[in-house]
Each structure stands twice: as C-alpha cells, then as structure tokens.
Amino acid sequence: MGEKTSWIDDKWPPRNKKFRMKGPVYERPRTIENKEEVSIDPTVRQLLEKAEAEGIETAWHRLLAQQPQCGFGLLGICCRNCLMGPCRIDPFGYGPQRGVCGATADTIVARNFIRMIAGGAAAHIDHGREIALVLYEVATGKNKYYKIADEKKLIAIAQRLGVPTEGRDIMEIAKDVAEIALRDFGKQDSELPAFVKAYATKRRLELWKKLGVLPRAYDREVTEVMHRTHMGVDADPLNILLGGIKLAIADGWGGSMVATEFSDVLFGTPKPLKSVVNLGVLKEDYVNIIVHGHIPLLSAKVVEAARDPELVKLAQDLGAKGINVVGMCCTGIEVLQRLGVPMAGNMLQQELAIVTGAVEATVVDVQCIMPSLANVARCYHTKLITTIPIAKIPGSVYVEFTPEKADEVAREIVKMAVENFPNRAKERVMIPKERIELWAGFSVEALLEHLGGTLDPFLEAVKRGDIRGVVGIVGCNNPKVKHDYSHVTITKELIKNDVLVVGTGCWATAAGKAGLLIPEKAVEMAGPGLKRVYEELKLPPVIHMGSCVDNSRILVLLGAVADALGVDINQLPVVGSAPEAYSEKAVSIGTYFLAAGVDVHLGVIPPVYGSDLVTDILTKEAEKFGLGRLIVETDPHAAAKIMLDIIDEKRKKLGI
C-alpha cells in the first residue's frame, strides 16, 4: 500500500503530532491544515477555506473529529445483532474469541458483511419499485404527469420478457411489463424472477443454480438476509456469504435493472450529449436550485417546472435573470444524461455547494443526503427541501412528493426557491470559477448505435489488442480518501495502457471534472490503441454510463459481449473498481459484479479483515467457484497495475 491517498493519518491509532491537553480534555485538531491534500478539485479547497472562516463544519471536519475510529469496527468483528451483546472478538487472541451466542469472528464478519449488502440492495430495490409503480400507473391511466417517453425501449424490454408486442397498444404492453416487474418484487413462489431470467446470461444462470444462489423475489432476498443474520440462524461463513451473493444478484439483475430500464422508458433512453460540470455551474444572478438524491421522478419534474415561463417571470420580477437547476449526485446524473442539466458535483461536494451562498434551495429525495445539510443550510438563506416520507431531516422544509401530484409539488418547490431569492446575502456569495464540459449519456443502446448497430467493431478492436480490456469504475466519494484522486489517477493510468474505462455514479462526475469526459482531451492521455479506436470508431476512451443504479447497464453490456464471444463473463478481460467507495449500495454493487464473475478492486479497506476465512473466501476462493474476487488496494497506481495484470492474464487464457 505504497502511495498515500489519505489526507488524514492512515495509521491506526492515528499519529497526531498536534497532541495537546486542553485542561482536562485531550484536544484534537479541528481545522484541516493542508487543504491541498483533501481533494484534487480546486473548488473543494476554496470552499473549505470559506466554510472554516464562517465556522461551518463539513464531512472532512467530522471525519477529523471521529478519529480514531473504532478498531473493532474497522476489522468488522463487533456484533450488535442482539441484546445479549454487543460482543467483540479480540483479534490478538488473548481475550474473547466468541460472542455470547458462540459466534466466531468468521461468522460475525460474514454476517455484518451481508447486512451491508442488504442495506444497499434494499435501497436499489426500493428505487426500482418506485419507478415500476409509476410505470404501472401510467399504463393504467392513473397518472397523467408521466408518460412513456421511449416506446422502442419498452418494446425491447417486452420482447426480452416474452410479452407479446405485435399489434398491441403500447399502454397494454406497458401494463403487462410493469405487472411482471412488480410481481418479481414480492412473489412467493420459488421461480426465478422474470427480469433476472431475461437479463442474465445462460452460463451465469447455470453457475448460480449450481451454487444455489438463484434469487426468488427481490424483497424476499432482503428479508432472508436479515433472517439469516439473526442470532441463531446461519453460522457457516461460506453459506452466509452465498446468501449475500444471492441478494446481490436480485439487486443487480432485479432492483437496479428495473430502475434503469423503466427510467429509460419513462424519461427516455440517454443519448450522448454535452453539458458542463463542477460548482462553477451555479450562476450568480440566477435562482439556483440543486436537485440531489437518486430517483429521477422528482428531479425531472423540478427541471420541467423551472422551465415554466410563469415561474421564470416571477424570478425576473424578484431581480433574478432566471432559474438555474443543477444536479448533484445520481439524480443529477439522471437528468444530466437525459436532459443535459448541468452537474454541480459529486457526493462530497453537497455541503460545499451550499457554502457558496448562492443556492436558493437544495431539493432532496433519498440516499446519500447528509443530515448535516440542514446545519449548513441554516447558516445561509438556503432552503433544504425534503420530499419523501422516509427521508426527513430536522431543520428542513418538508414538501411531500407523490407522483399523483408531481407537477403541482414540483411547481411549489420551485416557487419556494424563487421566492427565497431576495433573501440571498450577496456579500457572502462565492462561486468557484471551475466549470468544464463533459459528454454523458452513453447507454448500451446509444453505444450500439454509435458502433453502427453491432458490437463487432468493438470486439474486433478488443481482439486486435487496440482495446486491451475494459474496466468499469463505479462508486462514491469517501472523505478517508483524497477526494477524486484515486478515481482520476486510476482512470488516467488505465487509458494510458489502452484499457477502455466505463463507469457510473460519482466516479463519472469526478472524471468529468478532471476533463476526462471530453473525448479529444481524453484521447491525448490515452495509449496508441485507444487513439486508433477513437479515430476509427469515434469511441472515446472514457465513457459515462450513468448514475449508480445504471451499473446494470454495464451488466447488460457484459452479458451481450460474453454472448457475442460465446464465453462466460468471468473469462472476459474485464475488471470492476470502486476506488472511493463509501456506501452500503457500493458493497451491494461490488458483490453483484463478483457474482457476474468480474474481479472487483476496492480502494477502501472493507470491514472484513477481522476474519481470515472471510477475507480468503472473498479475495481468493471466490474465483474457484467461477465468481469474481475482491482486490483491496489503497494505492491507485498499484491498483491500476493489478488490474492490468488481471486483464493480460484473462486475455492470455482467451487466446487473444
């Protein structure tokens, strides 16, 4: 673990040179000393300075205050699943080796790990359910605010699912498709969900059947994992982990897949388009609204409402030039890739966006919304607007959003933001200058169209060696890692070595901010092979595939490539990577890539090292089952090298 990627001390316990006793209390540092080390994004440094000057704390400050983090938690050997506990295992072997119930470190680590998968998968599955319910309501005519924007995609889905399409009304097809999808969430039989059956490759399905990890219904798998990890149920670490893999499959080819596919139906399949990214997209004399969260149902409507001439007129009457909606996190990407809405930043910039002092309202739905936003917003005129009953934040304004009243609620929210404009303190506004172009919206359909309707030219380039392999980089930001640094470094290192990089989520925003999503710029940094590919196929070396549920797009692509070559996914020269992962969703995503047979690199140390057995299963043994394995490497340069080695090895085995 060579290069230091963490701006805080990566030693445990930390080695804090600034140790002082202040009265009776041991004082730890409160301010970030070297702001250059926190992020490679210049906006972060500027706004951190502003935040500190104004006495506002951010995630980085709170991470500092959290030091040292619990050693047992870092190793994953603390169990809080029952009231006999909490129990912890002494990793050095002098103290207790079993919890009160008798669970060993292996059992505890495995149980904790799949509970994390359950959290992440549940988030994706709920996301998918919302979209599927709206599609059903649109199909049955109950909801007039949304429409079927992409009939071609709907028919493609129907054909995959085996729904008859010839000569039928589009609404009838939509109803059938939505019914099938909704049934998969909570059905009680032991059949394979229709979506998983339709989207997973034959070879994978056979392997999963052999391993006994075929999912039955998405909700049922979440329930089963929670049941399995209850005290006194499953104690076999391998069996527990297989349960986690079963759930991850239900997430990847189920919940996330439904979310992506139906979002495309309702809002249009993304096509390549140009937009801008980074906090410079906030405009000084406009009403700025940030849409933050994950589900496009709300954000798309807010964008629509902000274009309403009546509300724009209201904004102009109040002294603004207009209304500027910008995106944050994955809902931002959803509207970026479909509507070209500018992107303000990724997960760790959510507080900093408000610190600019130029934001009238931050509209949030679910997932990745820091509860601290209310505290930051309180220091400015900014209104934090929560909209979903399961995601309320004390100190926010709550406007309930329901798809039946989508337009009214979106208008109300935008109006609230516009009316907040006169409260802005102009002297406190500081908007960073940084803004840069990016290309987004490369869905699988768009990529195929780009390549002329067939994968052959792409496969030809792979066989020729112009494209050495493909790495999918996904996932979050984590303040433990230098913000954006690992994302960008790994990407640059890989494209230099002719590895095509596709990715989603906060990686995509990081890559965009580094200019890697401008094809001309990325090609300059790419190796000779990718340069040739760009000249011939116009395929950029770095491809933005969407938000974090859109990782299912990568699964579809992998399946299509594997089928076209007549091999299984685990033979392809493909690696997944999550260099700055933080969330439970990332754990679930990582696990479904493992289930797909893709090796996954993780740049943050997962809480599994307390058990040798679980670590061994995940990092070594999993490969023998035909699944991917986990590679933990915090140094981005070393990680890129490991990934290149894996790609070369797989190419050799494939004989290309």
């Binding site: 140790f19 006793m21 009776p24 050693g71 870092l74 140390i605």
Partner: protein, 222 residues
C-alpha cells in the same frame, strides 16, 4: 468621560532581577485514567497491541506471530459490570523495582518505570509485588513485560497509543503537573456549577420540537 491616565507602577529594570533561573525540571509523565469517561470499548487494548507489534499496522498486526502482546487490560468491576483499565501506574516508589532481585526494573528521570529485558530472569516476583496487577509475563521470551509508555512515540512527540486511541478522553497523558492542573480545573468547574445553581437556579431551556419542522409521517411513500 475624561480619559484617565494609564496606571503605572515603578518597575525595576529586568537586569536588576537577580534570582537564579531554575533549570527546567525533567518531565514526570503520567497516563491518567478517568473511569467516569470510560465506555469499555477496548480500543486502548487494540492500540496497545498494535503499538507493540512488529508492523505497527492494525491489519497486519493481527496476523503476526508471535502475537503482539498488549500491556494493558480492560477489566470489568465484579457485580457492577463497569469497565476498568489496568495499566502500569509508573509509581514513584515502585514495589516491582524494590523486589526485583537482579535490579532489572528501574525508574528513569522522566518518571517511566522500565524493565531491562536482558537482565530480567523471569522470576515473576514483580508480578506478585504489583498492587494493581499491571505487570504481565511474556511466556515465549520468559521475561516480565509492562507498559513502557510507548517510548518510541514519546520520542516523536506523540502521546502513548492507548491515549490516542481513546475516543472519550478517559485516558489522558501529560506531565504530572498538567494532569493535576486539568483535574483541578475539572473539579473547580463542577464546584462552580453547583454553587451557581444554588445561587441562581436557571430554568431549563426549552428544547426545540421536531414537530415545528416536520409534519406527521404519511401512510404511504411514493
């Protein structure tokens, strides 16, 4: 209001001060344990073992052989189930030092009681003598071991590992005078608070209600 002349007192020139400047006293380092703040999380125990490992890294230390030995223990007070950390007090008149037949235990000018492992014969008299049970024994090497106050860390200007790892400030570190001053302040503050409450009892501040901000949850999420 008319400006008043600044108060000034005749003061002798600095050179007239003739009393000798005392040489700086050597530090008398203390690890102070406050059971009131202790949650019993065992992080000091982990940190101690990591610090006394070869790799000094949590993720590698747990796989080392011989297993790193922590020099402190987290015990539970019988019947009360309250945590209690036992580690060397670095006594001013250490019984372990006094009973050691070969003089392997000595107290340095910095207040740290050390064991010279080359001299130790493993007779375990010190274990018997310690009134706290803080002396431990390394069976592999056959020598007594104890808290060394993380000397390597002290030399780098860092506090001992257990103190750094403590999330609640139950373990504190410093020169004896600093610790005593801290204690004085703490007790004084508590005493002052109690007095002030007696003199002018303050009404309790009204807590902000969540109901002001968030309406009642609705039945269904879309």
């Amino acid at each position: 209001m008319a400006q008043q002349p600044a108060l000034s007192f005749p003061r002798p020139p600095l050179s007239a001060l003739s009393f000798p400047v005392e040489p700086a006293k050597p530090k008398n380092y203390v690890i102070f344990y406050d059971p009131n703040r202790c949650l019993g999380c065992w992080n000091c125990y982990l940190a101690c073992a990591v610090e006394h490992s070869q790799s000094k890294d949590l993720f590698q230390a747990i796989h080392e052989t011989p297993k790193p030995m922590p020099r402190l223990r987290v015990l539970s007070i019988p019947r009360l189930a309250l945590p209690y950390v036992v580690q060397c007090m670095h006594c001013e008149n250490p019984p372990c030092m006094n009973v050691c037949p070969v003089g392997a235990i000595y107290k340095g000018p910095d207040g740290i009681v050390r064991i010279d492992e080359a001299v130790c014969i493993g007779c375990k008299q010190c274990i018997r003598a310690c009134p706290f049970g803080a002396m431990l024994f390394d069976h592999d090497r056959g020598v007594a071991i104890k808290c060394d106050m993380c000397e390597d860390r002290l030399r780098e200007g860092l506090p001992p590992a257990c103190v750094e790892a403590c999330p609640t400030g139950a373990l504190r570190f410093g020169d004896l005078s600093e610790i005593v001053r801290g204690r004085e302040q703490e007790v004084g503050k508590r005493f002052y608070e109690a007095l002030r409450q007696l003199i002018e009892p303050r009404p309790k501040a009204k807590k902000a209600s969540y109901k002001d901000v968030v309406p009642a949850p609705s039945a269904r999420w879309y």
